[in-house]
């Protein structure tokens, strides 16, 4: 049996037989989302439910990935399994792209269609006249009712430009780390991979500073009309993805320290690198369409 499951047995695709992690994950996510819903409905014990679910989800990830890493280190995965992982990661990233597309689409629609319509453009002259007579369509806006009160925006060429530089640099450092990994140069690999996630965390720190500034000094909040909604939801989800990506980089770095990867076989490293480039590209979209234009 052991023989049948080694990668050397050409053509054998490794099929795991029974695993408790998926059902642990499904139950944990159920508990976590139930807790989150209860939290939003203001139920007393909700935080306990939510955090219990959240902790179980983390436990599931730890256990599941631990199993997969163990199997990979034991040489159970052949080239076919590796290809499956690659395709899977690729399509997962594509689904993430589409998630962001929904929010970018909302931004586009508001800026180019619905806000001008509120101002009476096109066939909407009468609705403007009767409903929102004094509304001048501009961007940024918090709408005809000035929801959330007057606010200022964050100029693109301040912190956001610095953040752009940081993320682009981190894209370079992870590529250097990748080349070092392929060349078997472990010293460079460790340093540049560490640099990458440090830059990632620094980016998140600067975003947090920017948010604090926006909330406390600019009166720009999630409740600042359509501008605040699109601004914080887009940058917020992106920040969440950077945080996750940086945590993934730390995990990969710890695995590098353990000597898990070889110059030929290091799918986890590449998957995280793809993910990192993805958050990088999303940021470029944000910088251009949210901050700059």
């Amino acid at each position: 049996m052991a023989h049948a499951q080694t990668a050397h047995d050409a053509g054998k695709y490794y099929i795991p037989h029974g695993s408790k992690w998926p059902i642990v994950g499904a139950v944990s996510l159920f508990v976590m989302m139930l807790g989150a819903a209860a939290l939003l409905n203001g139920v007393n014990i909700a935080p306990f439910i939510f955090w219990a679910g959240f902790a179980s989800v983390l436990f599931m990830f730890y256990g599941w990935f631990g199993t997969v890493i163990g199997e990979s280190q034991a040489g159970m995965y052949n080239a076919g399994v590796d290809r499956s992982f690659r395709m899977g990661m690729m399509w997962f990233i594509f689904s993430e792209v589409m998630f962001f597309a929904a929010f970018f689409g909302a931004l586009y629609y508001a800026r180019n269609l619905s806000v001008p319509w509120l101002g009476g453009e096109g066939a909407r002259y009468l609705s403007n006249l009767f409903l929102w007579q004094d509304f001048e369509p501009t961007w940024p806006t918090n709408g005809p009712a000035a929801v959330g009160g007057a606010f200022e925006t964050i100029p693109a060429f301040g912190l956001p430009a610095v953040n752009t530089a940081i993320l682009l640099t981190s894209g370079v450092t992870i590529t250097i780390a990748h080349h070092a990994l392929q060349a078997g140069n472990r010293g460079v690999l460790k340093i540049f991979l560490a640099l990458t996630f440090l830059l990632g965390f620094f980016f998140v720190y600067l975003q947090a500073t920017e948010y604090a500034h926006a909330y406390h000094e600019l009166n720009l909040t999630l409740g600042s009309g359509i501008y605040g909604s699109t601004f914080f939801m887009l940058t917020g989800f992106h920040g969440l993805h950077v945080t996750l990506g940086a945590i993934m980089l730390v995990v990969v770095w710890l695995r590098v320290m353990k000597g898990h990867f070889t110059p030929k076989q290091h799918f986890a490293f590449e998957a995280v690198a793809w993910y990192w480039h993805f958050v990088d590209v999303v940021w470029l979209g944000l910088f251009i369409f949210v901050y700059w234009l």
Binding site: P16, H17, G18, S19, P22, W117, G143, G225
Partner: protein, 533 residues
């Protein structure tokens, strides 16, 4: 297309006996076997079919006569909403995913799905999602009642059920995305040697395209409902004009998901019918390549037609023109399909076993639904039909005698392969004829009601609509009750019956790799990949 079975089934059993299924409930909780997971999906969807069906009967009971009889309007609205959510995400989609799990590895000669643990996760996450949704029915303020499209601002008035329903959609979406990734990776990576793309069976092909649609649009839906959530709880104004947002924005995002979603439900049905008609016509599928390209075209077009669901919200004229014309374009590849199915039967040696009966009913009745869809694609005409029972009749024609009949056909087609037994053909024929008659009694009068102006989603109506509503309700109860035959036939077949041969149907010989494995299909198949000539 045929497989050489040089390595045969003997090899399949050699050193893998210890990998038989685990015992008891753990088998189903921890399984990574595509056949087990396929069965789980199918059983789950059957349960949901009856839960959602019961809700439909509540609706039809209330509408049996004018006036308020049984339920209060809020609960009526909850029933229309949750009936739809359950039938779409809990019954039709999981049924086709279950069929995909069972059949795709068998059809392409793969040992299992490519990512077996994630496969299990997809299924149980769906159970988690529907537990949340069902739970939402019991919250203060009642279940979600704004229609399955969840349009704001109405949906934002939902009580404590609101976050539960939203999170249910998030989890169901995650489940679908993982399922779709698994299907794509399996098809792209695990095909047996010689199984080139253009040799793949049509069911596999349609699912490949469906999976791409799923990955592209489920995240968009997740984004849309996330915006609803933040509009409700966190002061955003995506869908509130006062803050510069627009409720119509939700409709755009929703239908960018929603239109591909309806093809997600029908494309696998196309695949099923494309398997069954050739088998019982004892011919090859007419125009196989054209079928593949037509499916791909329908998949592509589904992304650029979404606003035909919202002609009446006040779109610019150019928008109406674009979405009207792009929608009518879909009739071309769909017409290719209907033509090819018909041409497959031309001069064929036809027999009418239950799968063929369901597939033929699909062909005729889905086409009726397709034509009424074409009528509504015409923007000025749609102004009359919009939100009337005409649209209800339309989408139920494509979903019930369309998708659901195809799923029934698939089960009757492959059940002997799964269980190794033939089912009770006589009872299955009864099931078919009762279903086919009652489904028309149920939905055809709704065309008349809609054209006469009866609006959808109301618990009461003016008396001129009384007659056809009564007919429709009688049809509904007849259809619902005749479905009870189905689980009876299936359970009876699982428990025993005449032995099925390996290729089961005389005409199935040579129609795909699934007929080269024994009946019942062993727990593990194709551990050594077959070679396809």
């Amino acid at each position: 297309m045929s497989a050489s079975q040089t390595h045969g089934h003997a090899a399949a059993h050699d050193h893998h006996d210890e990998h038989g299924p685990a015992k008891g409930i753990l088998r189903w909780l921890t399984t990574t076997n595509h056949k087990d997971i396929g069965t789980l999906y199918l059983v789950f969807s059957l349960i949901m079919f009856f839960v959602g069906g019961t809700m439909a009967l509540v609706i039809r009971a209330e509408l049996f006569m004018p006036g308020m009889q049984l339920v209060d309007p809020q609960f009526f609205n909850t029933m229309t909403t949750v009936h739809a959510l359950i039938m779409v995400f809990g019954a039709v989609m999981p049924a086709t995913v279950g069929l995909a799990n069972w059949m795709i590895p068998l059809q392409i000669g793969a040992p299992d799905m490519a990512l077996p643990r994630m496969n299990n996760f997809s299924f149980w996450l769906l159970v988690a999602a529907f537990s949340l949704l069902i739970l939402s029915l019991f919250m203060p303020g009642g279940g979600p009642a704004a229609g399955w499209t969840l349009y704001p601002p109405l949906v934002l008035q939902t009580g404590d059920a609101f976050p539960l329903a939203i999170f249910a959609i998030h989890l169901a979406g995650a489940s679908s995305i993982m399922g779709a990734i698994n299907i794509i990776v399996t098809i792209m990576n695990l095909r047996a040697p010689g199984m080139t793309l253009l040799k793949m069976p049509m069911f596999t092909w349609t699912w490949l395209i469906t999976a791409y649609l799923l990955i592209a649009v489920m995240p968009v839906f997740a984004g849309a409902v996330t915006m609803l959530l933040t509009d409700h709880f966190f002061h955003t104004t995506f869908f509130a004009a006062a803050g510069g947002g627009d409720p119509v924005l939700y409709q755009h995002i929703f239908w960018f998901f929603g239109h591909p979603e309806v093809y997600i439900m029908i494309l696998p049905a196309f695949g099923i019918v494309s398997e069954i008609i050739p088998t019982f016509s004892r011919k090859k599928l007419f125009g196989y390549d054209a079928m593949v390209y037509a499916t791909a075209s329908i998949g592509f077009l589904s992304f650029i037609v979404w606003a035909h669901h919202m002609f009446t919200v006040g779109m610019p004229l150019a928008g109406q023109m674009f979405f009207m014309l792009s929608t009518m374009l879909i009739a071309v590849p769909t017409g290719v399909k209907v033509f090819n199915w018909t041409a497959t039967m031309w001069k064929g040696s036809l027999t009418f076993e239950p799968p063929m009966l369901f597939a033929l009913a699909f062909l005729f009745l889905f086409t009726i639904g397709g034509f009424s869809g074409l009528m509504m694609a015409i923007a000025p005409v749609d102004f009359q039909y919009h939100d009337t029972y005409f649209i209800v009749a339309h989408f139920h024609y494509v979903l019930v005698p369309g998708a659901v009949f195809a799923i029934m056909a698939a089960v009757y087609y492959w059940l002997p392969k799964w269980t190794g037994h033939l089912y009770d053909i006589k009872l299955a024929n009864w099931h078919f004829w009762l279903s086919a008659i009652f489904v028309n009694l149920l939905f055809f009068p709704q065309h008349f009601l809609g054209l006469a102006g009866m609006p959808r989603r109301i618990p009461d109506y003016s008396t001129q609509f009384a007659d056809w509503n009564m007919v429709s309700s009688i049809g509904a109860f007849g259809f619902g009750l005749s479905q009870l035959l189905f689980p009876y036939i299936v359970v009876k077949c699982v428990r025993g019956g005449a032995r099925a041969s390996d290729h089961v149907w005389e005409g199935a010989y040579n129609h795909g790799l699934e007929w080269t494995v024994p009946s019942p299909a062993p727990y593990h198949t194709f551990e050594v990949a077959p070679v396809v000539k």
